[in-house]
Symmetry: C5
Subunit: 375 residues, 5 copies
Amino acid sequence: MKTPWILFFCSLLPGLGDTLNCSSPTPEALFDSLEKELFSKKLLRPVKSFSETLKVTLEAKLAGILGVNEKSQSLTTIIWLSQKWNIQGLSWDEKECGTSKVSISREKLWIPDISISEFMEEDKSPKTFYVHLNNHGQVTDDKPVRVDSFCKLDIYTFPFDIQNCTMTFGPYLHTGNAELTLQESREVLWTKGEWELKNIQVTASILEIPHGNYSEIKYYFILRRRPILYVVNLLLPSCFLITLDLFSFLLPPATTDRSAFKMTLILGYTVFLLIMNDLLPVTGHGTPLLNVFFSISLALMVASLLETIFITNIQFRSDNYVPVPHWLSVLVLRYLAAIVCLPRKRRSTRLTVSLSPEPKGMTCVFLVCLLMLAL
Amino acid sequence: MKTPWILFFCSLLPGLGDTLNCSSPTPEALFDSLEKELFSKKLLRPVKSFSETLKVTLEAKLAGILGVNEKSQSLTTIIWLSQKWNIQGLSWDEKECGTSKVSISREKLWIPDISISEFMEEDKSPKTFYVHLNNHGQVTDDKPVRVDSFCKLDIYTFPFDIQNCTMTFGPYLHTGNAELTLQESREVLWTKGEWELKNIQVTASILEIPHGNYSEIKYYFILRRRPILYVVNLLLPSCFLITLDLFSFLLPPATTDRSAFKMTLILGYTVFLLIMNDLLPVTGHGTPLLNVFFSISLALMVASLLETIFITNIQFRSDNYVPVPHWLSVLVLRYLAAIVCLPRKRRSTRLTVSLSPEPKGMTCVFLVCLLMLAL
Amino acid sequence: MKTPWILFFCSLLPGLGDTLNCSSPTPEALFDSLEKELFSKKLLRPVKSFSETLKVTLEAKLAGILGVNEKSQSLTTIIWLSQKWNIQGLSWDEKECGTSKVSISREKLWIPDISISEFMEEDKSPKTFYVHLNNHGQVTDDKPVRVDSFCKLDIYTFPFDIQNCTMTFGPYLHTGNAELTLQESREVLWTKGEWELKNIQVTASILEIPHGNYSEIKYYFILRRRPILYVVNLLLPSCFLITLDLFSFLLPPATTDRSAFKMTLILGYTVFLLIMNDLLPVTGHGTPLLNVFFSISLALMVASLLETIFITNIQFRSDNYVPVPHWLSVLVLRYLAAIVCLPRKRRSTRLTVSLSPEPKGMTCVFLVCLLMLAL
Amino acid sequence: MKTPWILFFCSLLPGLGDTLNCSSPTPEALFDSLEKELFSKKLLRPVKSFSETLKVTLEAKLAGILGVNEKSQSLTTIIWLSQKWNIQGLSWDEKECGTSKVSISREKLWIPDISISEFMEEDKSPKTFYVHLNNHGQVTDDKPVRVDSFCKLDIYTFPFDIQNCTMTFGPYLHTGNAELTLQESREVLWTKGEWELKNIQVTASILEIPHGNYSEIKYYFILRRRPILYVVNLLLPSCFLITLDLFSFLLPPATTDRSAFKMTLILGYTVFLLIMNDLLPVTGHGTPLLNVFFSISLALMVASLLETIFITNIQFRSDNYVPVPHWLSVLVLRYLAAIVCLPRKRRSTRLTVSLSPEPKGMTCVFLVCLLMLAL
Amino acid sequence: MKTPWILFFCSLLPGLGDTLNCSSPTPEALFDSLEKELFSKKLLRPVKSFSETLKVTLEAKLAGILGVNEKSQSLTTIIWLSQKWNIQGLSWDEKECGTSKVSISREKLWIPDISISEFMEEDKSPKTFYVHLNNHGQVTDDKPVRVDSFCKLDIYTFPFDIQNCTMTFGPYLHTGNAELTLQESREVLWTKGEWELKNIQVTASILEIPHGNYSEIKYYFILRRRPILYVVNLLLPSCFLITLDLFSFLLPPATTDRSAFKMTLILGYTVFLLIMNDLLPVTGHGTPLLNVFFSISLALMVASLLETIFITNIQFRSDNYVPVPHWLSVLVLRYLAAIVCLPRKRRSTRLTVSLSPEPKGMTCVFLVCLLMLAL
């Protein structure tokens, strides 16, 4: 059973209400009566007296997620919004007037001023022109709304992030059942894009402020980014290059130019950073963990290249070269080597360093990659 | 013979209808009569009684496909929409009033509220101002509509994908012939762009819901992407580079720096990925097979470079080097070699591995490329 | 002498017409008369009787070409549109009313429903508010129109392409002189951008359909792309790199790493393809010849690199290497060599192949480049 | 205690004002009275006489910073604007009319012409339709305003820049408390994006010009860019590459091709400049210090590569080579070496130059990097 | 003393004019009179008789330059437009009516149809609603106008280009002082962006055409691009790379792979072209000199690499190589060498060519760079 949200609208608009008399069961007769009783009071809130509140039933279904803009911290969605309210005192006899329901142009009626507080742009919704009015005075206003709303986006765990965006419908009083609304939203979601709807939660609150009670409904849309594309395009190739860098220590420095090899590798990683730059969200506040991971990877590559340069220098230096200062070789061979996951044990014989990335080293890199994937 | 869609409009608006009397066969006389009988009843659905439904004939021709946006899962098209309906009871004598047809400003008449359910933005159609009314009371409303609609895009087989986008016109009843509408759509399609119209299918359905029957027409536009540009720009050069990588095993490791060559090749492939990144659709749900293919290609290249590094290490190592751990050389030479399509037979003499990519290896790469092209 | 287009408007709107009487030669008196006789009949087509057609004179001048969008196959232009028509029966005495011409707000008059069939978006023209009415009843409506229209763009010969875009003005009857309109268009063209106006052609046609004759005027704008920028930025550098590749055969394989050189060259060409990717139009139907040329160039470079690899393999192989399979060396040295324009004569002594790109080879490359430029 | 801005509106509009009499405490009666007394005087400024000024209380809260466009020197924000003013002489008895407050459609009332002088585009704010009117004649108009305003952006210290954007509300007189407005603005700021609100300052000024006093309120929004993303993505990798370049002097020139290594490094830095190009603001006036830093870094790299070329030339030249001209070797080895932070002392023995970047050299580079970070 | 533009409006609209009588010095009385005398004649040009022209004083201040679009040849600016004109015969006594000035909603008055001929899009100006009317009948209409106008942009000397954009205000007669308008424009210019306002010139012209005199005012805005950013980002790094290429001749061919070095350099330059491609204006007509400079630089680099290849071939060829054809070596060593600024004198001993780029060569490159900077 579907019990939608029932909201109490306690705005400051005056009320109205009368029973219609149709001279004949024809469309003309009904509209003449409506013209007199209803359309002429377009400015008035449809209640009998100001002490009464207008109950507005609100239903929102998430029809599609058009996009998330991390730069301006906004979310663009299509919401199917259904509002229902009663025009107090309005009713007519179905047989006397010939019908139980009519479509009426929206501009002929008083419309409650629902608005979403997080709205940030002019309305770009597709226009609809008619609302339904039945013979008990109930108005049904169904329409799609394109919502450009604020959303505090936290991209720290990008691309494995989950966003929680709120939409505050006000000013309304409400009662009702949140679970049902959620189910419907899942059913109607059109898009199969980057974002997946995980959950919808609804809370209601009534703020008692001097000029009447202010009621609002908050919808929380919890969205999960589908990370597969970013894993395939960003994380995997990046791990490939890091693996390459690690194993490049196996290259014999005597026959190949290992430093040139590593430099080309860093160049390739820089080109790769160029690709990522297009895909990564650019926002100044929270730096994504992924960015930090890429920076650290680059730092490691540079450190391992420096290591290579030192080793080459030590290995092939002629006697007439000025030796590397002692403090520098200690810094590089003891601390930097540990960072780039080189085995520390065999550092006694310098040349071996450049040879054998032991399981420990590889574990180190794979750990970092797995860590990212497991996040 | 062209028999367009005939639709029954059973909305809730009241009806109207009278025979016109013109005082003279002049434009002024006719419009005076229309003003009295028709324009004053703009709010009323043009039927005699609420029990009658209004039949609206609907015809949609696809005039152009402006674009497909994979990110927001949307399709932008121009549709030529033709609606025809009868104003019940309205008719005039051609001789008495001087003409059989008049153009009337749209805002003077009741217009059925056709809408496309998949619409997702405000209407950006070029505006038209007139409809035609003939002396039997038939209204013809021809207009172009620019449609920004949802479409669930499946890009798994990109760029060889076929999309099926629906447009649901409602709320209408319909009868008619789908085949003709399709033919016309093919005739009028203006664009010669990326998308080709394969087929148009039409289905009709009547939903019986409490407040009257709800009728809708669904158009299915089946679009096929023209893949030639993506093949020329993406697949072919990518296969060129993969071929290069395979044949690079022929480079003699003694005289050339094969690992540096392969590293430059990987760099080139990374640059190439940069180009593809601009052309590929970015959406988080279905990863295109092409992306997977590119990732696997990069993985193969990295694997073959690792292979080269190991071989170089084994081939040129001095005796004072620590040997590669046994489990690693087994992993690399037995399993990795198989992946990069190296012949396994001659692995007994290590040096030969680096020499001869047998037909089997080449077949392997060509198979992958052909597979992609044959998809 | 300028004789503009005279068009016959045979729409379905009723006519009107009377001679004005001004009580005094003041603006107020004239407008009072106009109010009574003209403004009140805004809905009526200004003819005496429905049997008469309204002649509308149409003049279109191309003021500027704002852009061509190959992706959505559209053309954006600014057209200066001038329409003239007579309000039948309307006239006033210049002395009696005090003036021979007045400016009238457009919304007070009946305006013919000119529309361009190729229009594909809402009207973004700068708004104008007044039309001119003279004392013989002639209305002159001059206004700029920003036109977003369809245009079947054929980019096969890009950047040397010539486009033929049509704009169909309807529904109108016309007579007149096409040559003059063309001359004026050339005079007023504001822009000095990428597109050059070569010619304007005008044709007229009258379709006899049941509900009156349907007349339309078709303007054909023939536009030529100015290719110089694309030649300087795309074709020349591309030819430079291809030339480099050809002459790289002169590099002595003994002292330099020719395969690495060629690999870097291919990398450079790939980077170059990245630049072109931004400049080239992306559309799926007709692949530009230029794209094919770039793909073939890349293929040639890859082929010549493969050639180099084979030669290096043959030249420097030790005796313990497994020889290249016979069928492969035949394929490469006989057929591939021919493709990359290597002289076939001296293939008897293998080493010479890598040495001397004879005039024939260079001619081959220069021929391709010249061919592109001569297109 | 919150004391908002009180503003005196001394515009040229005439005043009005009367006490309402309601026939009954129903909505209809109140609106009939309002219709007569208020709505009919929509064009008049609500004061009794022209000598009186209208006090308008103005409150602006910064709800969100949507974006800063350095190219067009503009700032896009969402402001919550609250205006309050009194309709002179209007009041009603709460009991007689049944309510103390009503919502009234904005188009039925005179609205003060607040405008922000820095506005540069059409209004894209979400539309609101109602204002509140209480029984003492006070009108409250709360609405969100999307502001596209000019802002002189100084990007010299990018990405550590602080911008000061003003919004001038006029024409108004004001008194009040700036501190409170600032606090509220901080509370409601929605976004967590690139820009952080540091401070809001308010000043008021009254310009006495012939046609009445012109009063305006200036809000100064001081925004600080969050630099962390730019440091991680731009400064750190750039410093990595510069460090690499410095230490590349340790590469022994006899065994490795140091000039090729440095050339690849410069290529990598160029690719890196490509990434930065997307992130850096492009504006022609103030060149960011960062751009200068990157240009100097590139110059240093090129200088050090030139140094390497000279050294290689000197070291390995055969006797039959023409020596480098004396003035050039002096220029390079004395001055250029100093620029690239090479120790000058040991320049007596030429070969040592290429060996030992002493602490002094490294300090030099680190100083530059630290300087940038400390800015 | 500020004497603004006085313009004569000789349009075709009829005139009006009367002295107002206020029943009391209240706003209501004044507006009742205005309603009767002025608002009811909104359609009429406010002159007594058609023979009189309406003088409109026009003042335009350039408030901001939002952007220049080279592709569509357009300029976007914000202009503060002030129009003043007199309503003939309208006046009231300040004491009798209570005020000397009122604000009036713009839609209640006749507004002259100023338009800028170069306008190319719909109006996106921020909306203003009021004009001022004083008791002598003078109307003052101040408003900001966002102008998207055509401008023939000549980018031959980019980034040192100066643009001259015209705005033609018509149809108006004018007199006045151009110097003052210029001064004010400089004062109010908000932006500090890429474009600097150098000068504003004003000319007036009266075209005598059959239907009355047509008067127009032409504003010429002379804008200068601030080139510093392009020099720092484009010209300097480009010159660095060219310098590198020149000095690479110092690399000893025996120990280093000079052709590989140069190839990497060309690759780096290609990457650099990629950066420039984003910054350079893309338009097909006038190729910027800078593009030509970059193409020539690339050509020179390719030529010098070809030179290197030939030299390497000659230097290291074994005896069994087929020699380079004579005509080719003449072409390369005599003419190409001269182009790449190599000293011609020592060409007798071939090996020296590769060694010593004499001052003459360096002067050659520096000359080109300085030439670009001095432009």
